[in-house]
Every structure is written in structure tokens, then in C-alpha cells.
Symmetry: C2
Amino acid sequence: MAPAIHVGPEPPLEYLVEAVKQGGGEITSLADAEAVVWAGSPEELPALPNGIKWVQLQSAGIEPWIERIRDTPEVQWTSAVGAYAMQVAELALALLLAGTRGIHRYARATTWAPEDERVLEGSKVAIIGAGGIGKELIRLLEPHDVEIVAVTRSGRDGTLPVDRLPEVWGDADHFVLCAPSTDDTTHLVGAEQLAQMQPHSWIVNIARGSLIDDDALVAALNDDAIGGAALDVTDPEPLPDGHPLWTCPNALITPHVANPPNTMARDLAKRVRENVRRYVGGEELLAPVSPEQGY
Amino acid sequence: MAPAIHVGPEPPLEYLVEAVKQGGGEITSLADAEAVVWAGSPEELPALPNGIKWVQLQSAGIEPWIERIRDTPEVQWTSAVGAYAMQVAELALALLLAGTRGIHRYARATTWAPEDERVLEGSKVAIIGAGGIGKELIRLLEPHDVEIVAVTRSGRDGTLPVDRLPEVWGDADHFVLCAPSTDDTTHLVGAEQLAQMQPHSWIVNIARGSLIDDDALVAALNDDAIGGAALDVTDPEPLPDGHPLWTCPNALITPHVANPPNTMARDLAKRVRENVRRYVGGEELLAPVSPEQGY
């Protein structure tokens, strides 16, 4: 029998309703449901009825949900981790190439003034957090003739365990932050880490703004202590008008567009369809949330 | 016996002298040489003594040399085609990603204003001219989940022959120009071709400015008839101050930096070493110039 699944908040997004049906679910009210696909905020979601076994969220980051998740240990929560990984990794590569090849500077120029840039080829790129996005980025970097050092919590699969992260700051040329936002990753990059980087080093952040101490970053950029920073996420967000990062010549800000709405709908529908199919078949769901780890 | 090779103009570049020696050649005056490695202009190169069998040039484009080459059919000329292909392909990808992901626009912004961008993933990319650079770009695009259509003179190896190019303009999403500058490729992209492109289409030119009719391009950009143009080469070059391309919101100009001096020296030395080694061994040289084809 098709599982009863509620899609909310009301009115439900048509593409999510379609995805649930295609995956083999039946659409019901929240009261009658055993599972929920929720495209809204935690505040909008009522207390879960007793029969709910599974909640699928729409975003990869689940910070605003962490209390709700910890309060309902009997429910399996899944995030959208990995569903948007390709789009986000694509922007990460775009920003890394833009920074290293000087495109941020040339985009602002109105006169022909070539500089003797570095290139990405031949450099060592540290990927901090090799989950879904980090893995996609490694795949995109494969043909680029760069040396990759991936840092993960576990240190499995040829990655460096996170306790060896201090070695990386002075060793790699460039840094791409793909780590989830947790208590452990707040200000992962601060004055101490920036001081170890090289004058040509670029930092790309497509994860969460909280991973970088922005005051320390602005100081490093103003001193030309590093090559630059390309940030799709900032702290706070939106980055307020007049913030020094808007006018640092060696900063490049994109306004959290790694996962644009038009492709997000397509990618979320695909993930929901797949997870409903797995739920129907009793298989393991994609991107289960771990309340302990916070992602 | 080591072949007598002249490196010029005087004083010779030390890294080229080293490369010739490492390849197995002996450094001599022009009068005593049987081969020449020339890092200067055609005007600087004296008439070739009778014994010269081979001349290695430093650039990939050989337009200024074409008369000299046609006047000396007994000499084997080689260019640097392919030697810098990786750096150039890297910038081509950087520009393609920058354009499609809106980085040119965000680089100029001083306020948080996300737009619903397209992404590169899932698009069809036409690579016009799949020589050394085009082939490298195809390799870099491999993991990107894009459809590639490569257009070459011959139509060999799964590429589309150049006489079918008219089909491509209305069919592909984006266009990367990698073709050599010849009589046949002047204004390859003009009003007629631009009119067939899609409103989101980006054109990337890392080959030669003459391939695009810039007046037609500026008109198309001003009408938002295409997504945009990212140009590392222009016509004329340098692009003069005040040229409309400097201020088109959907244009991105880099000042012929695909092959930056610091990596050029390294890459040229590698090519010279390899070609001297091949010359010593009687093997076929890399990048022989065809006087008929003009590249």
C-alpha cells in the first residue's frame, strides 16, 4: 500500500506533490500522514502527530531545525544534503578559477591592464569538508592537474582527519570551505589560520558564513596577507550595504546563489522522488540527519 | 653529434638556452646554426643562412610570420601551438563559468541582490576549433555534465565539420571560440550568427579578436539578444579606453591574459626541450606550421 505522505506548508508546491506521487506515495493531510515533505520553516511546521516516522526537509543545512530534530528522536529526519551538490561545486570551482585568474579584478576594470597572474594548474587545493559538495568539487577538479588535500571528520578514504587541519593552512595554496555549520566549525578560519596562508592563497566559502571570522578576514585582505576571498556565504547574511567586504579589491561576493531557485526545484524534486521510492521499498534514505553531529 | 642551434634574439633568454642544451642541442651563432629558436619578432630575425633546416617560434599564433614562412619553403617552421593549451583552456572554462553563473555582475555589485541564474550543468557547449586548446577544454569539461559539440575543419574524431557550423549557432547554449585566425575565420561570429543564438547564450573568445565582428556583438549585447560575451582577445587590441565593451553589463573583458608570462616561460621551455629532443632523434616535431593553412 502506498504510504500516506503530507506535503507542506499549504498550499503544497506542485512539483513536490508530483515527486511524492512518482516515488510511490499518496498525498494526505498532516493528521493522516506517516511521513512529511516540508518546504517551509520550522516555525510553520505544527507539532508532529504521533504516527510520523519520517520528515524530509528541503535544505542541505539544518541549523534552524536542530532543536526540533533533537526533540523528536523517534522520527527519522532527512535533509537535502547532496541534492544540490553539483550546482554548489560548480560555483565553488567558478569562484576558485575567478580568484586565481583575476577575473574579479578584470570585471571591474575599464582599461586594458594585464597583470602577470598565477594559474590554478599546478597548485595545491585544500577542500575542507568532503561531504556531497566536496566530493563533487574533487570530481570537477580531477582533470585540472592540481594536488588536492581533502580534510574530513573521519579521515577515511584517503582524506586527512580534521585534527590534522592545522598542518594544512601553511601548506596548501588555496582553500575551499565545504564543511557544515556546527559548534566545532564556527570561525574555523580566523586570524591564526589566515596568518599561516601564503600571499597568493585564495579562500572560497560556499558553505556557511560562520566558518570564517570576517573581521580577521577583512584585516588580512586589507594587508594583502592572502590572495583573496571569494564568498557565496557571509556572516551576517545578507551582507549589509557598506560592509568593507563589498569594496575590498581582493574580495569577490556572490549573494548565496550557489543553488539557484530554478535548478533547486528540479534537484529537490529528484531527491524527494528518490527518497519516497526508498521509503516505499524499505531502503535506507539519502541524507539522514544525525542529531549528535548536527548535520 | 649535437645539432648546432641558435637562440635569439641577442641576448638569448637563459631558460631557452638551458632548454636547448637539455634537449641535446649545442648553442651557436646564427651563421653556424642548422636550427633556430626565436623568441623575437619577424623584423628582428635576419635573413636565414642557407643551412637552416628548422625554426621554432615562441607563440601559438603565427599571423605576423606567414610571409616569412611562405618565402622559405625549404625550412621547417614550428609554432608553440599546444604548449600553452592548458593555461588557455583553464581561462576559457573560468570565463564560461563566470558568465553563466553571473560572477562578472556580482564582482561589480556593492549590495546583496541575488538573481535566479542559470548554471552550466545540463547545457550544450559548442567548441569552435578543437585543436590543442579545444581538446584541453573538452577534457576540463568532461566531469561537468554538459553536452559538447566540437567543430573542426576536418570533422574527424567525432567532431562536426566546419561546413555544418551554421547548424550550431541556433542549437548550442554557449560558444567557445578556439579557432586560429585565418582568412576563413575573420568575423566568424557576426550579426547573422548572433541573431540565431539564445537569450541566455554566452560567447567566450580566447582565440583571436578578429573572429568576432565587435560592432555586431556590441549591438547584440545592448539588445540583450544573448546572455553575454567573455573575451580575452579583442579587435583592436588593446581594447581602447571608452570602447562600449568596457561598460556593457553583460560583457567581461580580460586583457589577453590566458597565457600569463610567468607560466609561459615554463611552458615554452618545456616545448623547446621536447622539440630539440625530437630533432636530435629524427622524430616528427610538435606543431609544424602549414604555410597553406596558415597555422
